[in-house]
């Protein structure tokens, strides 16, 4: 995709993000100000970049999984497992490198398990990943023995709350991960192959795509992203909480992908749009808090915004709008709300 094409693809998400930011700024005027404290940038936008890191990381893997017409419900539980493994390693006195490798390895293994169920056994993704979603927290609790494993390793804590060149480490993590994965899938044929599997598994198999390896890889990337998110969350609170680490984040990640306009039916995907989607969700979360609404309004406002965004992107509503705005739509087709099936088929 060239520059203008990319901009057109993410225009609805950028507009939504701008609208959300503008809305929050109306209620909380200093929302957009960024200052420098010591050698760190501070301010609400930086906070959004940092707090949104877990969902953004998960959204990277989730985008690829959803593009293959799958879904990964287990990422929240994988976060808990990986955080617990790393905290366990640090607690045993092993070095930070070992702890990080252990966590990443655990994430890859979880992804391999999901991928095996989906690609080799041919189980529906929502069911296959449900198993680890239910059992995963039990496994994480097994590792932490039901406690919240705390540690005081400065290096590990740096992963969650440190800063490099003024920007928090978590923000770097998702930005870099997004760039790496984005480049790998878009500068090679990998992205195209993932889309082909999502559009029509059988046809792409007949065309010679090794869908088994591809699906395994995609779920393993998702597991790896979840491991990174787990490390960040664990480092941030300096403890592994098997019960609450990453709780319900899989839903936020799926939401980020949906807001990013990637169809849940597979096919065309955009990692950048999903990342903007993650930032939209985090802006809503942070914005509601800063705007001074009582916290009990959070979920209701979030639900209403989600419904609004989804309605605007709904294929059927798009058809109705198409009738009314036929001419404008033709001129601005790629920028309009995604119409997954047709787009994917093109």
């Amino acid at each position: 995709m060239n520059g203008t094409g990319l901009l057109r693809r993410v225009a609805p998400q950028l507009l939504t993000l701008a609208a959300v930011l503008a809305l929050v700024t109306v209620f909380f005027p200093s929302f957009l100000s960024v200052g420098l404290s010591g050698d760190r940038l501070v301010g609400s936008p930086i906070d959004v970049l940092k707090r949104g890191a877990p969902v953004a990381l998960l959204a990277i893997g989730m985008t690829l999984v959803i593009a293959t017409r799958g879904i990964d419900l287990s990422v929240g539980a994988i976060m808990a497992i990986c955080g617990a493994s790393a905290a366990f390693a640090v607690d045993q006195g092993w070095s930070l490198g070992v702890a990080v490798l252990l966590a990443l390895g655990a994430g890859l293994l979880c992804g391999l398990w999901n991928g095996f169920l989906v690609a080799v056994l041919g189980i529906q993704p929502i069911v296959a990943t449900l198993i680890l979603m239910v059992a995963g927290r039990g496994i994480a609790q097994l590792i932490t023995e039901g406690q919240i494993l705390t540690f005081s390793d400065a290096g590990f804590a740096f992963l969650g709350s440190g800063a490099v060149l003024g920007l928090p480490v978590p923000a770097w993590a998702w930005i870099l991960a997004g760039i790496v994965v984005g480049l790998v899938v878009r500068r090679t044929a990998l992205g195209l192959l993932i889309e082909s599997v999502g559009v029509n598994l059988r046809a792409s198999r007949l065309a010679g795509v090794n869908s088994t390896v591809l699906l395994l890889t995609v779920y393993m990337i998702s597991g790896l992203c979840a491991a990174l998110a787990g490390l960040i969350v664990t480092g941030d609170i300096r403890g592994a909480d098997a019960n609450n680490a990453g709780l319900w984040l899989e839903l936020d990640a799926i939401l980020a992908v949906a807001i990013g306009g990637t169809s849940l039916l597979g096919g065309r995907f955009s990692i950048l749009a999903s990342l903007i989607g993650a930032m939209i969700i985090q802006s809503i979360n942070t914005g509601i808090l800063l705007a001074g609404f009582p916290p009990e309004f959070n979920l209701v406002i979030k639900a209403i915004l989600v419904l609004l965004i989804l309605m605007l992107q709904s294929p059927r509503l798009g058809d109705v709008a198409a009738g009314l705005l036929a001419r404008r739509r033709r001129a601005d087709e790629t920028g309009a709300a995604p119409r997954p099936v047709q787009e994917a088929g093109r």
Binding site: I71, L117, L121, G122, I123, Q124, I126, V127, A128, L130, I131, L132, M133, V134, A135, G136, R137, G138, I139, Q141, L142, E145, G146, A242, L251, I254, L255, A258, L264, L265, E296, F297, N298, L299, V300, I301, K302, A303, I304, V306, L307, L310, M311, S314, P315, R316, L317
Partner: protein, 321 residues
């Protein structure tokens, strides 16, 4: 033997086998007390799972169930605290609200052609959000009628209590069985789960059926909320987080295909009871930690999913032969 029935038989066999194993280790587990408690403690889950069964049979999913149960408890508690309303009137009002809530979800799913997963996810946020708006605290319910409901039980031989709550669950299961397996609506649900395109060609009213399915799930979630409120005698907006997952797990362990179109309501009851039995065993054992519940349920899920997959493959091979 009918292959379609096999998952149901396997579910029942696993429950009986698990019960036997528990009994060998703890003979006292085979008492009407344990059985009575099994029914009472899992009543709200069982009721919610009946609604979930129909949703899953139709190929959909309802993530809003747990939040609706929490909302129901809070709604009843606030109504009883702030108005002089009789609990029965509050129950009726609540069931209307949750049924309408479910119907609205169904209408959105059909009207917007959005995945049920996403719409009910928003519904999950919304229901819990409204519960938060009503109160952030746990509100006790101390209406005399509630005490009557709590104390309503039939003392079985062996001093086990067959409570009203357990009876409500069994009635809900019976109602769900009738609805799913003996009515035109139920047939439509199965047809829809088999594939929307084929169902439409067979003349199934897709929109109407979808709205009714989610309305039914909303109604059942409301009923589960009432049972939970009676069970805990309180309304708490943070209660029953993740119950939708337990309900889905119970449906799958009960032998219903998560992709829709095949399954039974009776199996779901045994799925719920199996999950309850695991917890009872852990309580009896006393040394096992609670996280084993999750791991064992995960293993059971895996077992059933692989079994289903195997049956589907065998079925397809037979058809091809």
């Amino acid at each position: 033997m009918n292959l379609r029935r096999l998952p149901l038989y396997v579910t029942i066999a696993i429950f009986v086998l698990a019960f036997l194993l528990c009994w060998l280790q703890f003979p006292r587990i085979l008492s009407t007390r344990v059985v009575g408690n099994l029914l009472t403690d899992n009543a709200y889950l069982g009721i919610a799972a009946v609604g979930m069964t129909l949703v899953i049979l139709s190929g959909g999913i309802d993530l809003s169930v747990g939040s609706v149960i929490a909302f129901s408890g809070v709604f009843i508690a606030v109504l009883l605290r702030d108005t002089g309303m009789h609990p029965l009137a509050a129950f009726a009002l609540l069931l209307m609200v949750t049924t309408a809530f479910g119907a609205a979800q169904g209408a959105l799913i059909h009207g917007l052609a959005m995945p049920a997963f996403i719409v009910t996810l928003a519904g999950m946020f919304l229901a819990r959000g409204i519960a938060y708006l009503l109160t952030l605290d746990s509100i006790p319910i101390d209406h005399p009628f509630f005490e009557t409901l709590q104390r309503a039980y039939w003392l079985m031989p062996g001093k086990g209590r067959f409570t009203l709550l357990g009876a409500v669950m069994l009635l809900a299961v019976a109602g769900g069985m009738l609805l799913a397996h003996r009515t035109r609506f139920g047939t439509n649900v199965f047809a829809l789960g088999g594939g929307e395109a084929t169902a439409r060609m067979m003349g199934v009213p897709i929109g109407q059926t979808t709205v009714l399915i989610y309305a039914f799930s909303g109604f059942m979630a409301g009923l589960a909320g009432i049972v939970f409120a009676v069970y805990t005698a309180a309304g708490y907006p943070l209660a029953t987080v993740g119950v939708e997952l337990n309900a889905i797990a119970a449906v799958v362990i009960g032998g219903t295909l998560l992709s829709g179109g095949s399954g039974t309501v009776l199996g779901t009851l045994f799925g719920v009871l199996t999950m309850g039995l695991i917890q009872t065993y852990i309580v009896f054992d006393g040394t096992l930690s609670s996280w084993w519940t999750k791991i064992v349920i995960g293993l059971l899920l895996f077992l059933f999913i692989v079994l289903q997959k195997g049956l589907l493959t065998i079925g397809a091979a037979r058809r091809a032969a």
